[in-house]
């Protein structure tokens, strides 16, 4: 393959189309590259592609760049870019769609945020409510030894919270409508699949 060919194959319109078809993906077509989201974003300094560049890479079908970017995992859903974007792109919704896509495509270990979100969901669906102490344990159990080392750095915060009764170790209440909730979720997930 010549260098020129290699360059050409870096951009794949089919990949862009694949992303436009995910949940909320069609909005990414609307980005006009003004950069307002970048100056807005509180997490930009930690992103390897800031939002504007991320959308450019998507529009260009730059698969490698898009798949390795940490951009959506750093989005905090603060909604500031969403209220500012002159094209009315609901950027946080797009980020949700990308996170789901990436986890499905590359597996749950694609980013700590993917594993944490999935664990959060599993704990929540089972009980109908969140139980933070259990969530934290489950997350670190699945994340493995590296993450546990990180967790140790957080022990001071956790201790203070337990001491002040803000991280109850006893199980949180469960709801009566657990199976109802599960049915609602399953139906909605099926509808989302159909629609995209």
């Amino acid at each position: 393959m010549t260098a020129a060919n290699k360059q050409a194959s870096r951009y794949d319109p089919a990949f862009a189309n694949e992303l436009y078809a995910i949940e909320n993906g069609e909005y990414m077509k609307q980005c006009m590259q003004c950069g307002l989201c970048v100056v807005t974003c509180p997490a930009r300094h930690l992103m390897d592609l800031q939002p504007r560049k991320y959308f450019k890479a998507i529009q260009a079908g730059d698969r490698d760049q898009v798949l390795k970017a940490n951009t959506p995992w750093l989005c905090t859903s603060c909604n500031l870019c969403t209220v500012r974007c002159p094209r009315g792109i609901p950027i946080i919704d797009v980020m949700h769609g990308m996170k789901l896509y990436l986890a499905q495509k590359q597996g749950i270990k694609v980013a700590p945020g993917a594993l944490f979100s999935k664990t959060f969901f599993d704990v929540m669906l089972k009980r109908g409510r969140q139980w933070e102490a259990w969530l934290t344990q489950m997350y670190y159990l699945k994340a493995g030894p590296g993450a546990i080392k990180d967790a140790m750095k957080m022990i001071d915060v956790a201790q203070a919270m337990v001491f002040k009764k803000r991280l109850p170790l006893a199980p949180a209440k469960t709801i009566k409508g657990k199976s109802q909730l599960k049915k609602i979720y399953e139906k909605a997930a099926a509808l989302a699949k159909e629609g995209h």
Partner: protein, 294 residues
């Protein structure tokens, strides 16, 4: 028709003090708020949207709206994140017929339905626009004169439905007005609607240290004695992580973080147990010694 309360999971853990003081303040003001939504479930937050997508998460959130509609009452919420999830789902159902029917199809699988006829209101909105500041002033027994407060609305509170609703989406002022009605001074606080880093404590802690650090710096630089917020996550990050951030930045903040209803409780001279101070990590007793005995 009055309100029904959506407490959210945080009310049973990290935001317990919000829950306790909310109930007490509601009673003190004689607000038309009755019960919790029966058998409410977690709204899912953005974390569930990450894991299963928006539609599935919003259907989960909508179960609460369907249950509230059965009770025939509008919904009142104090947690910013819950407010975002419930109010945005509600709003989207009102403006997007396709979404409305998808959500109802999902709810139908659980034998429920929701017409999108309710309002979902944030506590601050209801306090300002329904109860009114006059009533708050009237109920204030111990005016908090001399107390300087940084009013941290948080990012999602004012941007939940993505357009100006009850406050400015970038520079909110309603929490300032509320705190002033208690006799306190709201200091200039440019970070009032800036993000604290949200729920990334485990996945990107450096983001929390950085963003929450900026919030704490701004409050300190503007001479605040305390931070006040309605949001359990904002409160958690600024309070529980404060010591850690202070060490990282080689600073000292000593900045108690109170739920707005805790501060209202102080001004209303409610019982110590209603103030729920034992849940605060940075102790508020010293800064509030003029008004509260330990």
């Amino acid at each position: 028709m009055g309100y029904i309360f959506y407490p959210g999971c945080a009310s049973e853990a990290t935001g317990k003090a919000s829950f306790i003081s909310f109930e007490a303040v509601v009673k003190a003001l004689g607000m038309d708020v009755h019960d919790e939504i029966p058998d409410w479930n977690c709204c899912g937050a953005s974390l569930v949207a990450n894991a299963v997508g928006d539609l599935a998460q919003q259907a989960i959130a909508a179960r609460n709206l369907a249950l509230a509609e059965k009770a025939g009452k509008d919904v009142i919420v104090a947690c910013s994140s819950c407010y975002l999830n419930l109010s945005w789902t509600n709003e989207k159902m009102k403006i997007d017929p396709k979404f409305h029917s998808q959500i109802n199809e999902a709810l139908g699988a659980g034998g429920l339905s929701y017409s999108a006829g309710l309002q979902v209101r944030h506590l601050i909105d209801v306090l300002i626009n329904e109860v009114g500041l006059d009533k708050v002033r009237e109920r204030t027994i111990k005016p908090l004169e001399g107390l300087k407060v940084a009013c941290y609305s948080g990012c999602q509170t004012v941007r939940a439905i993505r357009r100006p609703d009850f406050d400015d989406v970038e520079f909110p002022v309603m929490l300032d007005r509320l705190v002033e009605a208690l006799g306190a001074t709201a200091v200039p606080f440019p970070m009032a609607a800036r993000c604290c880093g949200g729920a990334q404590q485990f996945t990107n802690p450096e983001l929390i240290y950085d963003l929450t650090g900026k919030v704490l710096d701004s409050a300190a630089e503007n001479g605040a004695d305390v931070i006040v917020t309605p949001c359990p996550m904002c409160a958690l990050n600024t309070d529980a992580f404060q010591d850690k951030i202070a060490k990282l930045k080689k600073k000292k903040y000593n900045m108690p973080v109170l739920f707005v209803t805790q501060l209202m409780g102080v001004a209303f001279d409610l019982k110590p147990k209603d103030l729920a101070f034992p849940y605060n990590i940075v102790s508020p007793y010293k800064k509030l010694a003029k008004w509260v005995k330990k």
